[in-house]
Amino acid sequence: MTKRILIVDDSASIRQVVSTTLQGAGYETIEACDGMDGLKKLDGSKINLIISDVNMPKMDGISFVKELKANPAYKFTPVIMLTTESQEDKKAQGKAAGAKAWVVKPFQPQQMLTAVEKLVM
């Protein structure tokens, strides 16, 4: 069964790179441009993994993950946070919220794929 991955990021280019990489590896992707948009996309259908940026307009990644974990349908869905080296505190917050995996920006598409595979292989 094809695995579905939700990508939440306000940068269209990053969404595109991640999306293309994952599709190339056989995953199905859904894109959202911020936390709010992300929550909207969670319509109860099966999502295997969520990749979320931290800094986004409207709703940031941390709040998004908190909301997500409160939803019984998605509380077991793994989340990869996209962080930058300087965002140690954000990373800690994200982890506290329930996003245990992360990828540091800037990343190579392959790095993203590796992280995804570790979680939903």
Binding site: K100, A115, K118
Partner: protein, 744 residues
């Protein structure tokens, strides 16, 4: 480096590797023999040692093969590949070790060595295809049946309360990684799928076993949380990836879950060698471990965090307890650390020479250096004389400092030639095994004092005589198991090789617990052979010494071993030529002890300086019995030979001044140096006795190689050349010939 030079290095390297391989194989065999009655307490240690031995043997074969490939030596690659394949299977415990397998492997080692020796002679092809084929066929009979599907892995369950990871810590002899996972309770809620990690792991290698551990599961069902994770895995994993790469698989869970990764033995070995290869830069323990790859930076961070909360625990202790790294690796790292510290405080070169690896230098170059230093000593001595003549105190002082330094350099360069006797001794493991098998005897060889050092030249020359003595002990000394049983001795005979330093010489002992020497039988045989007269009264020692007489053999049956063209007389002569001697101590029925006394080096001798006219001569000190004044009344001349009365004993003597054609008048007082060689004594008459000295031997040039009675020369402190007398040939001259015929 030219290809030829590289090839020479390859040949030397292979010789060493194969020799080591043989030693390891024999050690395995010994282990196999004793494993039946070994006690349980040492079993774990044995297992480690075994794995280590097999690994080492594998690496030896692997290196021989790998380098052969570089030189395009396909026949060596082909053959060693077969050996390596089998060893690999052995390493992975797919086949079990048997004594017949070891025997085949030993033969394979011999074949490899032959190939290498042929290579040294310039033959770059298979020298013995039949043997190669036979051995390859033999090897294949040991191979396991075709391997199973590689991709499948068995998942079994374990309710074992003991964590298997703890049991196996540091004892991972199986050649694969061992990964111990304990997921934390929140793992599922965090979106972590335990199976996902296993699947991902398969991308990096092959999972050979998985044991699911569920002992975290609460006993009370009411406490059971359906969303919590109680799982753990014990995973056997084969992979060539680094520890870091494997650990990264668990990147997202290692903060909260327990992840322990134990490297296979081969990996452990590579950590150890990486540690030893690190430079002398001072490092912290953690840094060393991270640098060699045994510890990942994350593991170090966690361990340091623990240490900061429990400062009474040492870092190494924490790492071992957490299973981050094996005790051996921590020990090696601590040793490295100590060495680096020592390197800083002491002389750098000394630290480097202690443990900092070895430097391969051709023996010729060392000889050249020693020769040059000899020259340096001479010119130093003459400089000293000139500086004294100049009455310039400052000059004299600095020259004397210079000369002291030269002496130190001389001693240091002499030490370059010193090697441990262990390698020579270890060669006998195989000899003893083979000979004992051939004779149907059970013999254990034990070696002590293997680290005793002696001059490389002596080591080279002692090999043959030692070989003969060892064979002799096996052949004639140690009895067959039946005989031993009848005598109430343990069936297994003991042969012991021992070496130690004793006042400037090296002593080698060959001790067996065999039948001992039968003095009566030796005496009877000697009379029969006409070596002694039946009326001779001889003490035990003298009778024993008869076995060194030419043509003497008491063995009733000529075995394959005796009659190899070397008699005990040759053995003794070899040893005497080295400036050594051999003593026998034996008790009938209990055993025999042969003691070889050898000089530490052939380059320096303890000499005794004498003078005739203005010429100095050196007599090797160990051949001197005593010095007496020549009483003209006691000396007689008959048929051109001269004799004197030494305490009512007839002592033939020769005057050096006559022997060497010195025409000046004899002084009024002359001295006799009584020398001995073997059992004979003779007197050498000189003008003056100067005393003992230690001297460097310089060989005579080719022009003088035919000169009898002179063994070499030596340069005295004052720059004068002193000739060193060759006592054995001189004695022969005294005995056989009339003095005036000798020197023309």
């Amino acid at each position: 480096m030219s290809m030829d030079a590289a090839l020479i290095t390859y040949v030397e390297e292979c010789r060493e590797l194969l020799e080591q391989m043989e030693g390891d194989l024999l050690a395995l065999e010994r282990g196999l023999d004793t494993s039946d009655d070994s006690t349980t307490e040492t079993e774990d240690d044995n297992e480690i040692a075994w794995c280590e031995l097999i690994n080492r043997i594998f690496r030896s074969a692997h290196t021989v093969k790998g380098s052969a490939g570089v030189f395009g030596l396909d026949h060596i690659v082909e053959f060693t590949h077969e050996v390596e394949t089998l060893l690999d299977q052995l390493r992975e415990e797919k086949i079990t070790l048997t004594s017949s397998l070891i025997a085949t492997l030993l033969e394979c080692k011999d074949h490899c060595l032959d190939l290498i020796e042929c290579l040294a002679d310039g033959v770059e092809e298979e020298s013995n295809p039949q043997r190669a084929e036979r051995l390859v066929n033999e090897l294949q009979t040991f191979s396991p049946p075709a391997e199973k599907d590689n991709q499948s892995f068995a998942v079994s369950e374990s309710n074992n309360n003991e964590s298997p990871a703890i049991e196996r810590l540091g004892n991972n002899g199986s050649g694969h990684w061992h990964i111990s996972l304990r997921f934390h309770a929140e793992a599922l809620r965090e979106g972590m799928d335990p199976m996902s990690f296993l699947r991902y792991l398969q991308k990096l290698g092959q999972i050979v076993s998985v044991v699911t551990v569920s002992n975290e599961m609460p006993d009370n069902f009411e406490k059971f949380d359906p969303e919590a994770c109680y799982l753990g895995f014990e995973i056997g994993f084969v992979s060539h990836e680094s520890k870091q790469t494997i650990e990264d698989v668990f990147e997202f869970i290692r903060d909260d879950s327990q992840v322990r990764i134990i490297p296979p033995f081969a990996e452990l070995e590579s950590y150890l060698s990486l540690i030893s290869e690190l430079d002398q830069e001072p490092r912290r323990l953690g840094e060393i471990l991270v640098e060699c790859g045994s510890l990942t930076p994350e593991e170090l961070e966690q361990a340091l965090a623990i240490q900061s909360s429990k400062p009474q625990h040492a870092l190494g202790e924490i790492l071992i307890n957490r299973g981050n790294t094996a005790p051996q690796v921590v020990e090696a790292a601590i040793a490295k650390q100590a060495q680096s510290t020592a390197g800083r405080s002491q002389n750098e070169d000394r630290a480097a020479s202690k443990d900092g690896g070895t430097l391969r230098v051709e023996a010729d170059r060392v000889d050249e250096l020693i020769n040059l230093i000899g020259e340096l000593v001479i010119s130093g001595a003459s400089t000293a004389i000139h500086s004294q003549d100049s009455n310039n105190d400052a000059l004299t002082e600095s020259v004397s400092t210079l000369n002291e330094l030269i002496e130190e350099v001389r001693d240091a360069s002499m030490r370059l030639r010193m090697v441990e006797i262990g390698a020579t001794f270890n060669r006998f493991q195989r000899v003893v095994r083979d000979v004992a098998n051939e004779l149907g005897k059970q013999v254990t060889l034990s070696i002590t004092g293997a680290d005793t050092e002696l001059d490389k030249t002596v080591v080279e020359k002692i090999g043959d005589p030692l070989m003969h003595l060892v064979r002799n002990a096996l052949d004639h000394g140690i009895e067959s198991p039946a005989e031993r049983e009848a005598k109430g001795k343990p069936l297994n005979g003991q042969l012991k090789l021992n070496a130690y330093h004793d006042s400037g010489s090296i002593v080698i002992e060959i001790i067996d617990d065999g039948a001992g020497l039968d003095a009566e039988r030796i005496r009877a045989k000697a009379i029969e052979k006409g070596l002694i007269d039946s009326t001779y009264e001889l003490n035990k020692e003298d009778i024993y010494k008869l076995i060194f007489a030419p043509g003497f053999s008491t063995a009733d049956a000529v075995t394959n071993l005796s009659g190899r063209g070397v008699g005990m007389d040759v053995v003794r002569n070899n040893i005497v030529e080295l400036g050594g001697r051999i003593d026998i101590d034996s008790e009938q029925g209990k055993g025999t002890k042969l003691t070889l006394h050898l000089p530490l080096t052939l380059a320096i001798i303890d000499g005794f300086l004498v003078g005739v006219e203005e010429s100095p001569f050196v007599i090797p000190l160990d051949s001197i019995r005593e010095c007496v004044e020549l009483q003209q009344d006691d000396a007689v001349e008959k048929n051109g030979r001269q004799y004197m009365n030494l305490r009512n004993e007839v002592l033939p003597f020769v005057r050096l001044r006559e022997l060497f054609g010195m025409k000046t008048e004899r002084p009024i007082r002359e001295n006799v140096v009584v020398v001995h060689y073997g059992n004979q004594k003779a007197g050498i008459v000189v003008d003056r006795l100067h005393g003992e000295l230690q001297t460097v031997i310089k060989p005579l040039g080719q022009l003088f190689s035919q000169l009898q009675g002179i063994g070499g020369s030596s340069i005295m402190g004052n720059g004068e050349v002193a000739l060193i007398l060759d006592i054995p040939t001189l004695m022969q001259l005294v005995k056989d010939k009339q003095p005036h015929h000798v020197i023309h």
